[in-house]
């Protein structure tokens, strides 16, 4: 029940991805068939692509807001640099998820690849949710 409540607090994509993560873990522990495994990977890829597009859109607006809020050029540059350190972290997390999907696609008989993918997806979505204040 605690986990269900937590999932409900998360928004759109994060919620869906956590469901996929949960399904992935179930399938992993149950030793899922090729068809179910492929479906999990395809759905995870689709949701990750959607999260990527949402993040890129949010990122553009957020950087503009940073410049708008700055009173001086130095302040603007400092705030943008500060944000871009976080942006780099998010990009790294996306890279981790995409590579985990790719690895799971290649290693069809390796159950740990799905668990690794679930972990990478979970980290990304928690970071996105935190960074965007729940918008992603």
């Amino acid at each position: 029940v605690k986990h269900i409540r937590m999932i409900h607090r998360l928004s759109a994509i994060a919620s869906a991805t956590l469901m996929i993560v949960a399904a992935t873990l179930v399938l992993t522990s149950a030793g899922c068939g090729a068809s179910a495994r492929t479906k999990v990977l395809q759905t995870t890829l689709t949701v990750t692509n959607a999260a990527r597009d949402a993040y890129v859109s949010w990122d553009a607006a957020h950087q503009r807001e940073i410049v708008d809020a700055a009173k001086t050029l130095d302040e603007s540059k400092a705030k943008l640099a500060e944000y871009r350190a976080t942006q780099a972290k998010v990009v790294t997390l996306f890279e981790g998820v995409y590579r985990a999907i790719a690895v799971a696609t290649l290693l069809k008989d390796d159950p740990t690849s799905l668990a690794n993918l679930a972990a990478a997806s979970g980290l990304l979505m928690v970071e996105l949710h935190s960074l965007t204040g729940g918008k992603i």
Binding site: Q42, T46, A50, Q63, R64, L106
Partner: protein, 87 residues
């Protein structure tokens, strides 16, 4: 084909269909997100994703890198315009 139909054809669980309803309520980027999901799911429904390769997955990263690069350049240009400097 509607996104919901595509989802059903792809065999996505009811939670996945609820996802679309959530996405539609996100706000600004909802249309882009919805389109991306719909396109992806239509590909699934047509069976194109059955040939999903590791290379194709990693290629999705390029779209992320390109998007971030464009955003950073746009923000720098916006900053330069606001403060009257060269980006």
């Amino acid at each position: 084909m509607t996104a919901r139909d595509a989802l059903k054809m792809a065999g996505v669980a009811i939670d996945g269909i609820d996802l679309l309803a959530h996405l539609a309520g996100i706000g600004g980027p909802a249309d882009a997100v919805l389109t991306a999901v719909k396109t992806g799911l239509e590909a699934l429904a047509k069976g194109n994703a059955g040939t999903m390769s590791a290379q194709a997955v990693v290629a999705q990263l390029d779209l992320l890198h390109d998007g971030i690069k464009a955003n950073n350049a746009a923000a720098d240009a916006y900053e330069a315009a606001k403060f009257g400097t060269k980006p």
